[in-house]
Subunit: 418 residues, 2 copies
């Protein structure tokens, strides 16, 4: 069962507003077994809507429209749909009552704009919107259904949750889709694809696989029609189990997990504390860790040591090491780990030192060269990475790699303690 | 001149990824006089692309496609476009060289997936992508132009800025639109709109004004058809001059400027150094400052003092003050400024301490309460803010407010030195 989402409004087409509604709607629809076949953002023009809607009704059993229901002149969705479905606009008393109620609460008088908002197409089923002045509408034609909603996110979400999702799942008795996402870090998409070639070729043909790369990870998504109680769920589970056996070190989590959540949970559950000593990442790792609510339970602090003086004074890095090995070196990041543990009194620490760019590279250490160490006062593990020439990406990738190294180090510490 | 943006990828249609590319692309296109007529997000299916592209070529002179250029089996845009435009895939040596270069930098071997990425449609003009392994492509047919780019945002941005925007503005000799953006911080949209009511009503009718609010600022965009040499440019300039006289304290910059750029430039030009002492912002301010290339010229470091021990040991905050006034207090943030200046030996410092949430609030200091101080060893200015209940937004708003306070403090210091 496929749906088409049509979003109406010039603000999306001029780039003023990012369309976040569609992603939310797609997630909700997927849960009840409706997949989204297309999302189309169009102008406020009635002709444009008629054109796209005509095509949608030929292809999709379900069309969901958002936007263009406001009280001003540039909002013409209701008029256009009424005409399209040969429907007169008539006064809809429950909508007028709702508008009056909202205006009363704000001590505002009823004006002509409001009155025209209470006029609704007679052939539509009106979906009462307690969150705003414009109700939703449902039209049915030749077994196809078209819903229209305001584009204001919380009004759209109300109408979706209250009417549309329950109605669709009742009407179509849909078979849901299982989506499982496995998170990997440390291998490029192409390398991963090669490692997983045989495994992928052995997947049953009703399980589809997608590689979703981003700068610091590749997500693997397995999808199939079915629900948690069917055999397909077991098949997907078996495929994932096999996947873990092929790339155990590369998988760091599943679904919506993040490195910072996983590291945070390890620390919280084991009463560990952590800190960071950051040079090239400039506080980025600390800010990622502290983006998690409750981070103050295990994160003690960070020393962002951008200048060598700060490395020496606060992290007690040896000036001789800095002189002989350079700030971007294994020895320095290991000393930074010890220094951060001592300065903040934390159990573990992460340290980074690299050339983020665009300047500062040398032949021996080009832009992107980054040393990362993790560990505690007694033991540190360090690794050198060669990222690229883009400063922003180097910081993102260094932060993710450092968090991943910390994750692995703490995981081992927990296992060794058992 | 109208363009159609087609984004390819199941991840958008299942709601896993929000399409932020299209808004950015629309903004860039608008600047050169190209409006976006439609944005269509489609599946990875070749038939779907063929269907939408065929319709696009009937309506739009420009079609911009993103996504589906990865090395894995679910990425089929290149193959589909090659077939659509009756074009063989042939080895494109510059692309192969670029892939080898990227792999070499990461010490990775060349595999079959990479090799197939170097095969490109012979009839396409290949747009070299120094940011990744998949180049862009340009096809021309019947006076229409079709561009295809990777969906990875910074790769798309590179190809747009480097090739597509310059080519489109050259090819179509478009009548440009003047866009001027004034950046404000510190007033909500509704309050600002009220203050600017008279000014707005006096704008010539060919100058349009848009309020573009985001969590930490409101941008005011003035647009009119014309170019820098016309009288309209002067009229816009006059309106902006008047705007400065109405809200001098609220405007912090123009166009693409950022607080961190402005603070960085002040420091660089005057040989000042800065540091931060962050509690609730958790390293976010340091990471914003160090996102700017060359920040190491003026940014010395940061102490992220999440625990009170770190505040006492590294920032020399008085334990009595912490005890009597609490960590979230004027006295503590002022001491943190002095502590950061001493610990890093910087001229100026920024300090934050607040309750980011969602927990930790009290009746007296609810979630969102944030003390911020800026200054030097001799003099500090502090301010208390009441942000909201959302942790992420509180951190963003505290960081922006802190940078703005630092901007104003340093600006005054420069003026007093003159």
């Amino acid at each position: 069962m496929q749906a088409h989402i049509i979003t109406i409004g010039d603000e999306i087409l001029i780039g003023q507003v990012i369309d976040t509604n569609s992603a939310w709607m797609a997630q909700q629809l997927n849960k009840i077994g409706v997949s989204v076949g297309q999302i189309t953002s169009i102008t406020d023009s009635p002709e444009h809507l008629v054109d796209v809607l005509t095509k949608s009704l030929k292809t999709y059993p379900i069309t969901l429209i958002t936007g263009g229901l406001g009280p001003t002149n540039d909002d013409r969705t209701k008029q256009t749909l009424a005409k399209y479905f040969n429907s007169e606009l008539v006064l809809h008393q429950p909508t007028l009552n709702q508008i009056k109620k909202l205006l009363n609460a704000r001590n505002l008088p009823l004006n002509n704009n409001n009155l025209s908002q209470a006029m609704q197409p007679e052939k539509a089923t009106i979906l009462n919107n307690t969150m705003g002045t414009a109700p939703g509408m449902k039209f049915e034609t030749d077994g196809k259904v078209v819903f229209s909603m305001p584009g204001v996110p919380f009004e759209m979400k109300y109408l979706m949750s209250e009417y549309i999702i329950p109605e669709l799942s009742e009407k179509y008795k849909l078979s849901p889709i299982i989506n499982r996402t496995i998170l990997t870090h440390g291998e490029a998409e192409a390398v991963l694809a090669e490692k997983l070639q045989t495994w992928e070729s052995q997947l049953p043909n009703y399980i589809s696989l997608a590689y979703l790369p981003s700068p610091n990870m590749v997500r693997l998504r397995l999808s199939a029609p079915g629900n948690a109680s069917t055999n397909i769920a077991n098949e997907i589970e078996a495929a994932i189990t096999k996947l873990y056996s092929i790339i155990p070190d590369i998988i760091y989590g599943e679904e919506e997990e993040t490195m910072q959540n996983i590291v945070g949970k390890f620390c919280f559950d084991n009463n560990f504390t952590i800190s960071t000593a950051e040079s090239c990442t400039g506080g980025s790792i600390a800010s990622i860790i502290t983006s998690i609510p409750g981070a103050s339970n295990y994160f003690l602090g960070s020393i962002v040591a951008y200048s060598n003086n700060v490395k020496v004074n606060l992290l007690k890095v040896s000036p001789e090491t800095l002189q002989n090995k350079g700030a971007v070196s294994e020895e320095v990041v290991k000393q930074m780990v010890i220094g951060a543990c001592n300065a903040t009194n934390s159990d573990f620490a992460i340290a980074t030192s690299g050339i983020a760019g665009p300047d500062g590279g040398t032949d021996e250490k080009p832009v992107g060269t980054t040393w990362i160490a993790v560990g505690n006062k007694l033991s540190q593990e360090a690794q050198c990475f060669c990222f690229g020439s883009n400063r922003e990406r180097n910081i993102i990738r260094a932060s993710a790699s450092a968090l991943n190294m910390m994750r692995i180090f703490i995981k081992k510490a927990i296992e060794n303690n058992k």
